[in-house]
Amino acid sequence: MARMAPGESQAWSWTARGWASRSFLPQPPPPISTVNDAEVSHFSRLSALWWDERGEFALLHKMNPHRIRFIREKVLEVLQAQPDAMSAAAPASSTHIPPSLESPRVLEGMDVLDVGCGGGILSESLARLGANTLAIDASAENIGIATRHAAADPGLTCSAASASATLSFRHVTAETLVQEPKRFDIVCSMEVVEHVDNPAAFLRSCAELVKPGGHLFLSTIARTPLSYLLTIMAAEKVFRLVEPGTHTFSKFVNPEELIGFFTKPLMPGARPWISRTYAHGLPTRIEAEVRGIVYLPWRGDWVLAPRETTPWSTQANYLFWVRKPIE
């Protein structure tokens, strides 16, 4: 299958070894932008279709409840394991009462950043769960679409860039935002890592935006023969569920590469986010977690694989969570 050979003339070498060795040079010059221009224009063209739930982004719409469920589960898990953890992360809201399991507004009072929000599918859900949500995207048209759509919903207090709104959209990149002082309890970047040019730099920006003790949620696609078959061969070429050209196989990221990234210090001398991994390569559940998410065509829906499943469930789409150390 079309697995990239090491040393191919890619800006980024995608073998695990190359990735690791390239990304942790002591002084990588911070790139101006990791955004890929061709990718931005591709999505701008599709922007009008973002909210057609049966169209181009149908699979994404269907995936959304499962992503939110994962976020919900992990946030509650940490809250219950360490009730004071979030208040350490969010000292401003000292009166914040930990939400119960049944409460829909589990993110009440938290500052949440959605990087690469697209049409705002995830951002709107985050805001509905009570989060003060800032959603950013590299495409101005996406921001326009997302703002317009959210404004039609009276349940969301939304504005282009007001501080008081619970949901705001900004046309800005993570690399620019990180220059500002604002940090977040939760940073999400769903289905984005596989579209950027320099994932290591991108991840470093995202990580930097997380408050100590906060969460980073990612979702992406593993670089395996199975994922090529499913996401490119089946979804793009055969069944046309997704616009051809949406995915570039060589840019897919394997779970062990993400785990590897966070096992090393992000800054010289800093504490790594993942302190240890088990023999099978997986981190402890309180530091990071990888969960496969599988689309079952006969059910017409995604299934968030249970924790106990065999590694094959993370061979294609997966969700990744990692928590920043409190220091």
Partner: protein, 575 residues
């Protein structure tokens, strides 16, 4: 039932958010309705105050997780205070009754509505006797013998009550639930899409001048659903060439058994059903030709009484003759009819002490002392009909092609209309309400937009096929029993008799399914089983050329079907 006649001063709480500022205000709804222009934003607007609409509103309001986040407004054109204040003496009953399956009862319990239903006016169904009008092949379901029991112990396969008793209970429950705004005497004048960019939400224009902008618009508005038309959802189906006659029947109490058995005889013109309500009152649902229904609803009640008693007892050929006779002589006097029935009984050699005799027996004597021969298999002799309760309505089959549209969802009769022979219509409607409420709750927990397709698809997935199965089974049952062709009668009778003998199998299957506590694993009623067997029979007879190949394959088919019924409900749709 028009609101204009109502001069009752009713305070209606309007808890919808006006644009911008949330506010709660009290308004008096009267004919002076013109309010400020603009619109009110609502999360869920339910159109229709029938049982399904009320149950949905109540289910949404009773979910703890939805309190404070989902505001519900229910719009009803008629005056609901009439139902709220509905009251009848204990020995009088309204003519529209419903049979609530155990799953439905669990749901009503769960939303806190059952405690508001007057239980004195309900009656458990502990047994069901169903037989073929031509061959007399009989199916007997006994809840105790089959091990069907409801949580709490009583052996019942369903519970009968008046629709109004249920509706009043739901309204009383809603009165306690501040999250729901009830707008009755308010008609929906028009539904259109808003013109807000990125919106296209339904704007519901009400007769009092207010316009509601709905995140989710639910059509619980009946067979000619305006919400369905707005959603551009087609529905397919047909009108049966039959009408149902309903009436409240009065009879003396039975001494040898409580009045908790439902009886149904499948005549070729349609089934006639006797549904117990109290020791001395029962309800009639009789499907028959529109012409006969027209005569029977206008005739002397004594004639109708005799016709009902005869329809349960006389051989089919004589029942057919009596129907023809009455159509020829609509002004037939009660005495002439009795003489005719008496003659027919003699011709069929029905002895006066037999339970099949009705012409010369006084109903009060029939129930006393040693029961007549065969009395167990027949309903008590009807003595009289409660005045003013005879009515008839046409029977239809309708199924919407989809249950969800752009920010709309259909429940109850707006989504499906079914033949009443198995008493499943209302249960399907309440099942819809339960499923939609669950679906909305899940969506809210996941930060979803409850009007979006993504949020609503699980509702369709849970209900559409489930409803369709029951609907087509009931339809086939109706058509199967409408036939008088001897091979078909033989096949259906053999099938039914074989099935009826397999008591342990029946018990095992229903017992196992009923043992599970989830509302979804309990079969809706024994009807599901009957219908399943019948469905196999239809295809079986078709393949075999109807004759001769014998009992073995028919029985085999039924066994197979039973196995499927037993294993069928174990679905894993809910995570």
């Amino acid at each position: 039932m028009r609101g204009a006649s109502s001069n009752i001063r009713r305070a209606v709480r309007v808890a919808c958010r006006r644009r911008g500022s949330p506010q709660v205000l009290w308004r008096y709804f009267s004919d002076s309705g013109t309010d400020a222009p603009g619109h009110e934003d609502c999360d869920v607007v339910v159109v229709g105050g029938g049982p399904a609409g009320l149950a949905l509103a109540s289910a949404l309001a009773s979910k703890r997780t939805l309190r404070g986040s989902v505001k519900v407004t229910l719009v009803e054109g008629s005056d609901l205070s009439k139902i709220y204040n509905w009251d009848l003496p204990p020995d009088a009953f309204s003519n529209r009754v419903v049979s609530l399956t155990n799953a439905t009862l669990d749901f009503l319990d769960e939303i806190g509505a059952w405690t508001h239903v007057d239980v004195e006016r309900t009656c458990p169904i502990e047994e069901m006797q169903v037989w073929d009008g031509i061959s007399d092949a009989r199916m007997d379901f006994n809840a105790a013998a089959l091990g069907i029991s409801r949580r709490g112990g009583s052996n019942q396969m369903a519970r009968l009550t008046e629709t109004l008793n249920l509706q009043r209970g739901l309204l009383r429950r809603l009165r306690e639930q501040p999250n729901v705004t009830l707008l009755d005497n308010t008609k929906v004048m028009n539904i259109s899409e808003d013109d807000i960019p990125g919106g296209a939400w339904p704007m519901v224009q009400l007769s009092d001048g207010v316009t509601l902008r709905a995140r989710l618009l639910v059509g619980a508005d009946g067979i000619n659903s305006p919400v369905r038309s707005y959603s551009k959802i087609d529905s397919y189906g047909w009108d049966y060439p039959t009408c149902a006659i309903v009436a409240t029947l009065l009879h003396p109490p039975r001494t040898f058994r409580p009045n908790t058995c439902a009886y149904q005889r499948f005549l070729p013109t349609g089934p006639i059903a006797f549904l117990p309500l109290s020791p001395t009152a029962s309800s009639l649902v009789w499907s028959t030709s529109p012409a006969l229904a027209a005569v029977l609803t206008k005739t002397d009640p004594a004639v109708l009484t005799s016709m009902i008693n005869a329809a349960f007892r006389l051989p089919e050929v004589s029942v057919r003759y009596l129907h023809g006779h009455l159509l020829d002589v609509p002004s037939l006097s009660p005495d002439d009819l009795r003489a005719e029935i008496s003659f027919r009984e003699q011709a069929h050699a029905i002895a006066p002490y037999s339970a099949l005799a009705s012409a010369n027996v006084h109903p009060a004597e029939a129930g006393v002392g040693i029961p007549d021969e065969g009395a167990h298999g027949l309903p008590p002799l009807v003595a009289d009909i409660q005045p003013g309760t005879v009515a008839s309505f046409p029977l239809r089959f309708r199924h919407a092609e989809a249950y969800i549209g752009n920010r709309t969802a259909l429940i109850g009769d707006a989504a499906h209309v079914i033949h009443p022979l198995a008493g499943q219509g209302l249960n399907l409607g309440l099942g819809d309400a339960a499923a939609l409420a669950r679906c909305i709750q899940t969506a809210v927990m996941h930060g979803g937009d409850i009007g979006s397709r993504t949020a609503l698809v699980p509702y369709t997935r849970e209900r559409y096929f489930e409803n369709h199965k029951m609907m087509s089974a009931v339809d086939k049952l109706h058509k199967l029993y409408a036939s008088t062709a001897p091979p078909l009668v033989w096949a259906r009778s053999t099938g039914v008799e074989v099935l009826n003998e397999l008591d342990t199998l029946k018990a095992g299957i229903i017992g196992a399914a009923g043992g599970r506590s989830s509302a979804h694993s309990v079969p809706g009623s024994p009807w599901e089983m009957v219908a399943g067997g019948v469905e196999t029979l239809v295809s079986g007879t078709r393949v075999m050329g109807a004759v001769g190949t014998g009992l073995r394959s028919v029985a085999g088919g039924i066994l197979q079907q039973l196995g499927r019924v037993a294993s069928g409900p174990g679905k894993d749709q809910r995570e």
